[in-house]
Symmetry: C2
Subunit: 218 residues, 2 copies
């Protein structure tokens, strides 16, 4: 399989972490799509993914799978032993709810902030910006950090008692927060403690090790 991604991208990080959790890295070759050159918005990539986002997984038969949740569902089901997306109805429901909530209230909000209220990927790529909308999304993300802090005061992981796709989505959110210098409020100590624990997971460590600060490639 091939994974079209970019080494510093927070969304690609979600799939890289999922691949590592599933021990599937050796089955996937990474192909860079340069975000800073806007390659993800060009026709070659749009043919892979109509929405023009990363990452995209290409299966050996040429099928393209986009969207982190969809790719994670696929990878997690490959061996018939899901560890990221749940096995019971309740686990599936909770994991999907919390992962979607982490997108809405944290990761996607920070992405909109980055692309709309900061220089983003630069004037060649950011052809339309709506700064007011972007700033509101930044505020939403900070509020989201407080929400997830509250969740983690009651349970060890984002969707309950076990690590899941929902934790990966929040990790993606905090990767993006760090890249745009959006600090987790100091009073969110449960979120900060969880984040420190997450950094101990080999899947997360490896991702951090291979990434670089978010800046234009030389």
């Amino acid at each position: 399989m091939k994974i079209y991604d970019w080494h510093t991208g927070p969304y690609p990080a979600r799939v890289r972490i999922a691949l590592a959790e599933k021990n599937l890295q050796s089955r996937v070759r990474s192909v860079s799509v340069d975000l800073w050159k806007g390659e993800h918005k060009q026709s070659e990539h749009l043919a892979r993914n109509y929405s023009g986002t990363l990452p995209v997984l290409e299966l050996d038969d040429g099928t393209f799978l986009a969207e982190c949740t969809a790719i994670t569902e696929y990878l997690d089901a490959l061996d018939g032993a899901p560890i990221l997306t749940g096995t019971t109805a309740l686990e599936k429901g909770m994991i999907h709810m919390m992962s979607k909530r982490a997108e809405l209230e944290l990761l996607d909000a920070i992405s909109v902030y980055f692309h709309h209220a900061t220089p983003g990927l630069g004037p060649e790529v950011e052809l339309y910006q709506n700064a007011e909308w972007g700033l509101r999304q930044r505020d939403k993300a900070i509020k989201g950090m407080h929400y997830f802090d509250g969740v983690l005061r009651k349970q060890p992981f984002i969707a309950g008692d076990a690590f899941s796709m929902a934790d990966i989505t929040v990790i993606g959110g905090l990767i993006f927060a760090s890249l745009v210098d959006l600090k987790v409020p100091a009073e969110c100590d449960a979120l900060l403690a969880w984040h420190a624990r997450m950094q101990q997971r080999p899947s997360v460590q490896n991702w951090v090790a291979m990434s670089e600060p978010l800046q234009a490639a030389a």
Copy 2:
């Protein structure tokens, strides 16, 4: 179980259709949360769902499940015989990708258009509007209709050869489009033919029968 929803809401429609497809209607009691009074943004509902959206499923033990995709995953897994979310890895991946794409490119885009570039739910509920952003989302939704038309020229259902959650999400998108008077372009004949076929499904017929035009309750 209880489902907190509103009879004309396009997102609630997704779960009502899923309930009917799974033949689970008799196990769920519907509780109205009045969108036009902004009840979904009030503390009683925010305690059920941090994001303040409908629908929310309450399980018999008091657990709340929000987000249509998560609720559908839950309902579909209850009897161990999924018919909406796939059984193989590839089916799961494709269904989740296409359903998410239907949110991004159609349903959520129309929702943003409605709430930001039309009077939406009225001045008491729409406390912040960004019309420019809303109008861009309207344009994105029209483009999305062309995209899904192209998909349906090649295959009978949104995610492939079988009806799935992804079809329900596009149905939700077209319900919302109809409510805000956003016409499917006449040249999208594959999308229109698919939509006519979908109206023949009892799950969709029943929903349409119980809904009313999108307007303030008397």
